[in-house]
Amino acid sequence: MNTWEFLYNGFLVALQPENLIYALVGVLIGTAVGVLPGIGPMSGVALLIPITSTLTAGTTPEEAAASAIILLAGVYYGAMYGGSTTSILLNTPGESSSVVTALDGYQLAKQGRAGSALSIAAIGSFVAGIVSLIALVFLAVPLSEVAIRFGPAEYFSLMLLGLCAVSGLAGKSMTKGLIMTVAGLLLATIGIDNVSGVARFTYDMPILYQGLEFLTVAVGLFALGEVFKTILEKESNDGHIVKIGRVTPTATDLKDSAGPIARGSLLGFFIGVLPGAGATLASFFSYILEKKLSKNPDKFGKGAIEGVAAPESANNAASGGAMIPLLTLGIPGSGTTAILMGALIMYNVQPGPLLFDEHPQVAWGLIASMFIGNVMLLVLNMPLVKMFAKIIETPAKYLIPIIIAISFFGVYAVQVNTFDLYLLIGFGVIGYFLAKHDYPLAPLVLGLVLGPMIENNLRRALTASNGDWSVFVTHPLSLTFLIIAALWLIIPFIMKLRGKNVVINEEG
C-alpha cells in the first residue's frame, strides 16, 4: 500500500460515526481547555485519559486505541486554537505558547478589532493545522531522521540565533530590550541546574528547586501588570466601553495575514519537529521573523494583525510537527505529547519505529481524524468569535475582577501552591512599573524560555566534546545558524554605514 491508500484507510477509520463524535468531543473540550487558563493542554489530556478508557470499553483493543487517541489528540490541538482567546481579549495568556499573541492581540482588542484578531487566529490555526498534517503525512520519516541528528551544538546555535532575534521584540530602545533579556536569562537560572545538579538561588527552599514557572511570570507581567495600570491610572474604569467593530476580518486583514500564516505554519512545523523546542519557541520565532520582514515594523506591538496571525499559526503547526517524533520515534517532544504517548501505551500501542507497521489503524486513523478535527475547529470557532468578542465590551469595573480571578485561578490550578500566587502579584507589580517606564516585557519572557535551553545545550555539547569549543563550527547545521545569527546582527550596521536609514537604536 502506498501513502494515499494508507491515508484513505485512515479516513475510513476516522469517519466512523463514533470516531467522528470522539473527535468532536475532543476538540470541544480542547477549545474549553485552551480558553480557560490553568487547565493547559497537558493536564487536560491527562485528566481525560481515565475517562476515555471507560468510554472505549467494549470495543476491540485496536479500535479502542484509535478512538481514544483521536479524542485525546483533539484536546491537544483544540487547546492550541482556544489558547489565543484570553491572550487577545484579556491580555492573559492561558498557555505559554500564546504569550506572544497577547502582544498585538490585546492591542487589537483595545482598538475594537477583537473580532478580526480572533478570527484571524482561528483561520491561521486552521491553515497551519492542515499544512503541518500534509507535511506529517509525506515527510514524517525523513524529518524524524533529521530531528534526531539535531544535537546539543545545533540546539545551542539555534537558541543563540533566537536570542539575537530578541532585537525584534525590543521596542523603542535596544538598551532596555537587552536589559530585559538579561533579566530573563538571570531569572531562568533559579532552581536546580539540570547539567551539574547544583541548586542555584534556591536558598534551600524546596519550592524554588524547579525554578520559576514560566506561566506565572508571564501572566503576572502581562495580565496583572495591565490590571494595575488600569487601576492606578484610572484609564478606563468609569464604565467606558470599547466598541467592537466588525467580527469578520476585513479583506485587508486577510491579505496582510496570508504571508505570516504561511511562514508561521512552515516555521512552526519545523520547530515543532525538534524534540524539546516546542510551540512556545515557535510562536516567538515566527513573531520575530514577521517583524523583521515587515515593511513597517513599528506597528508591531501596537496592534498588527500579522503579530497575531504568525504566532497563532506557528504554535498550531508546532503541535502538528511534534507528532512526528512521537509517532515515528516514540520520542515525546513536549509534556503533552509525553502524556499522549502514555495513553497509547495504555492501549498496548507503543509509539515508535514500528507503529506504522504494527498499528496502521491507529496511526493513520489519528492522522485522518486530525484533518477532520481541524475543519470542525474552524467551523466551531468562527461563531464563537462573535460571542467571545463581546467580552471586550464589558466595562472595566467588571472586567478587571474577572481578569484577576482568572489569573489567580489559572496559576493556582497549575502550580497548586500559594507561593506562586505571591510570585504572580510580585510580577504584576514589576510588570506595571516596567511597562510604565517603557521596558519591553517580551524579551524578559523570551529570555526565561531560552535561558535553560541555551545553557544546558552549551554545556552538554562541551561535556561531550571534552571542552572543545570547535564543535559549534564543525557541525554544518550549527555553523549555519551561527552565520545567520552573525548576519542578523551585522547587516543592519553595514546598511547604516552605507547611509541607509535603518533603525538600530533610537537612543543612539
Partner: protein
Amino acid sequence: MKKISTALFAGVLALGLAACSQKPNFAGSGSGSGDYPSRAVTMVAPSGAGGGWDQTARSISKVLQESKLVNQSVIVENKPGGGGAVFLAEYATQEAKNDYKLFVNSPPLLINHLKKEGNSPFGYTDVTPLAQLTKDYGVYVVKADSPVKDLPSMLAELKANPTKYTLAGGSAPGSMDHLIAILPAYQSGIDAKKLKYVSYDGGGEAIAALLGGNVDMIATDASAVGEYKKAGKVRVLAVTAPERLGGELQDVPTLKELGINHAEFTIWRGVFGPKEMTPEAKKFWDGKLKALSEHEAWQKELEAKGWQSEYKNSDQFTAFLKEQDQQVLELLKALGMSK
C-alpha cells in the same frame, strides 16, 4: 440553534468531567478511633498530572474503588514542586498524624534526601512505608551501530580513559538516572567523578540523543527500551535486575552475570502514609494494599500500563528501603554529591 446546543452539551460535559476528577475534599487532620476509614482518603502524587507518580496514584485509586476493596472514595491530588520535596516538607511537618492522606513515591524519595544539592530535608524515615507495588530496572543502552559490543569491554576502556565515552540519562546529575549510569563503573573500581554524564530533560530526550549519535550510552528504565530494541535501533548491554527479564529483553544479561556484583537497582513505586499513623490505619492499608496487589483488576491495570508487579508489605518494604538507602548513599559519596 444546533450549534448552541452542541456548545452547551460540550460545556456540561466538560464541567461534568472536571467534577468527576476533582471531588470535594473535606479531609482535615486524623480523627480518633472508630471505623477507619470513615471518610474519603486522599492519595497524593507529589508531581503534576501525567507523570509516573500521578499515573500510579490514579491507577491505585481506580482499582481500589472499582474492586470495592475500599468503600470510601480515594481521591488523587497533585502536589507538584521540587521533585516531590515541597509536598514532603509540608506532609512530614503538618500532617504527620493525618491517617487520611497517603502518597506515592519512588527512589527519588531516598536520593533527594541524601544528595547535597537540591536536598529534601525529609526522607523515608519521616513517613510510614506501607507497600511496594511495582518494579522496574535500569538498563544500559547503546545505539545499534555502536562500536561498543558489550559492557565489560566498555568498562575496561573507561578504566583506561574515563572520558572516552559520554553517558547520558533523563535527569540531573545526582539523581536516579545518573546513579544507575555510574553503578557498574563504580563497582568495577572506576572513579565515578571522572566519568562524563550529560543530563537530558526526561528519558525520551535521552533516547533521542542516543539515536542521533550525540551520546554514547544511556541509562534508562527497562520498560522504555523494548520497542527500540525490537525495531533494531539499539543494543541493550545489561540490566540491573537480579535475574533476566522476560519479553523483548530476555537475552540481555544482568550485571551479576557479567561479573559485576552489588549492582542491583530496583526502580520501585510504592505507597506511604504519615509518620505517626495510627496502628489501626496502618493495619488497614497493609491488608488492603496486599489485597490490591493480588486483585485481578490490578494485574490488568499493570499490564495496560506496561508495569511489573512486585509486592512488599510494610515491614519488608521498610527493610528494603534501608538497604537501598545505603546503596544510594554509597553512590552519591563516590560522586562527591552526598550531603
